[in-house]
């Protein structure tokens, strides 16, 4: 029931860190006892995942990260350690997050993981998702968590990064997640389940929308860096705890929105504020949403 998060943290030449994720008394995130900077990105994702594990009483997330500010050096170090770490801790879920999207590295990692931990479910968001899709490996993944713009990228077989997504997919009303989820599935650009983050969240399985979540509506969440990362952390942790994937995604959307409402979200707040609101949100609602009642 362990979640392994594979990612980077924003420190120049930061060493490889591996270990259990903890939330410090001031809300900071530590990996194996070493603090990482608090920002949007993987620290937000880890914070949300750790709150779910604490609430459910499941093992705290495990992380494998290295310092990388976009040069790709830390990403390469992480890939060098990935197979050994996965074989040792035998995670039920591996989530790839903020990483330099290098197709060759992702291709080799997925091949090796299929041999060493064949039953482990793979999740991808951020650069991990970009690399998986660009390498033609999306359908090897159980869950991806794109935002509305990124699902345009997943649906566009010609591109290897969201920066090159084609205009024709934008349509007159913007990206249509229902259409693009189906298209991404048909063209091999989607994981089995997509959690598409937006004004209305859509959850698609095999290209077909299975659930939509739009309440509570907290538009300010889009402006807060890391609130998409917290959704990914929540969904990954629920999945690692044994929730069916669509339920994990749905509960993640509900919890993130409710935490946004509870924190009184404004565009000037931060993902750590949302993470701090999660214990109360999970305590008061998760039993009702997902049947995961904790006594």
């Amino acid at each position: 029931m362990t979640l392994l998060v594979v990612a980077t943290y924003p420190v120049v030449d930061g060493p490889v860190l591996e270990g259990v994720v903890t939330i410090e008394p001031d809300g900071g995130i530590a990996i194996g006892g070493t603090r990482v900077p608090s920002s949007q990105g993987t620290s937000a994702m880890l914070g949300a995942a750790a709150q779910v594990a604490a609430h459910l009483g499941t093992p705290a997330p495990h992380a494998l990260v290295a310092g990388d500010i976009g040069r790709g050096d830390g990403t390469r170090h992480v890939y060098e350690h990935l197979v050994e770490v996965a074989a040792r801790i035998r995670p039920s879920v591996i989530a790839f997050h903020y990483m330099q999207p290098v197709m060759a590295l992702m291709r080799r990692a997925v091949e090796q993981l299929a041999e060493s931990v064949p039953d482990t479910l793979l999740v991808a968001d951020a650069g991990g998702m970009y690399a998986a899709k660009a390498a033609g490996l999306a359908n090897r993944f159980e869950l991806m968590t794109p935002d509305v713009g990124e699902v345009g990228f997943l649906a566009d077989p010609a591109v290897t990064h969201p920066a090159y997504v084609s205009h024709y997919l934008f349509g007159n009303e913007g990206f249509d997640p229902v259409v693009l989820a189906g298209r991404a599935h048909e063209t091999g650009g989607a994981a089995r389940v997509l959690l598409i983050k937006g004004v209305r969240d859509h959850i698609a399985r095999d290209g077909v929308i299975e659930a939509e979540v739009d309440d509570p509506c907290v538009p300010e969440l889009e402006a807060i860096g890391g609130t998409g990362d917290t959704v990914t952390g929540l969904a990954s942790a629920f999945l690692a705890a044994g929730f069916p994937t669509v339920d994990a995604a749905r509960c993640a959307c509900l919890a993130n929105r409710e935490a946004g409402r509870a924190m009184g979200a404004t565009p000037a707040l931060h993902a750590r504020d949302l993470v701090a609101a999660l214990p109360g949100v999970l305590r008061d609602n998760l039993c009702r949403w997902g049947g995961a009642c904790v006594v």
């Binding site: 920002s39 197709m103 920066a163």
Partner: protein, 184 residues
């Protein structure tokens, strides 16, 4: 399609069709090359390399083949390392230029592709950046948030990836909307 022209030179008919690409090891090398070549008088475009030449997070610079030698010398003089020159431009793609904005009252959010920047209107302070998935995005978040938008370096000068480049487009747009006019 005419991608660009060099403004200070007369071109022979059809010259704009004969394009080649400079390829680089890293996105920030391509951004530095664009800057160096524009400074040297070339009017160039950043594009995605053709699919068979991509590694994942790639950016290349298109230039006319006839100007290849001079442009390469300009890059060498600027200290920009070029990985390779290719004559083949089939399959190149332009960078997404979808830019939208949301007015939150006290705050303005601008999206460029899937990258977002949020600025408090009264103070000009960047209160959030979000979107993207490359490792320079959390780094840029730490470097930019809490500072005035007109006092920070441009994201494309701090970042290293296509996500950073897209955040730069949002940065330029938010400054344009708050201050009026173009951003240098």
């Amino acid at each position: 399609m005419r991608l660009f022209s060099r403004k200070d030179k007369n071109q022979s008919p059809g010259a704009e069709e004969a394009l080649g690409l400079f390829l680089f090891e890293a996105v920030n090398d391509a951004i530095a090359a664009e800057r160096a070549l524009k400074t040297a008088g070339y009017d160039v475009h950043l594009v995605a390399p053709p699919p068979h030449l991509r590694a994942g997070c790639d950016l290349s610079v298109a230039v006319t083949r006839v100007e290849h030698v001079g442009a390469e010398r300009a890059l060498a003089e600027a200290g920009v390392h070029v990985r390779e020159w290719v004559n083949d431009t089939d399959g190149t793609a332009s960078i997404c230029d979808l830019v939208t904005s949301v007015d939150f009252g006290e705050w303005l959010m601008v999206r460029a592709g899937n990258m977002k920047i949020v600025v408090e209107k009264a103070s000009g302070v960047i209160v959030n950046t979000s979107g993207g998935g490359c490792p320079d995005i959390p780094y840029l978040n730490l470097e930019l948030v809490g500072k005035r938008v007109d006092e920070v370096p441009r994201p494309k000068d701090l970042g290293y990836t296509l996500c950073g480049l897209m955040l730069d487009r949002a940065y330029v747009e938010v400054r344009s909307q708050l201050e009026g006019g173009d951003v240098a």
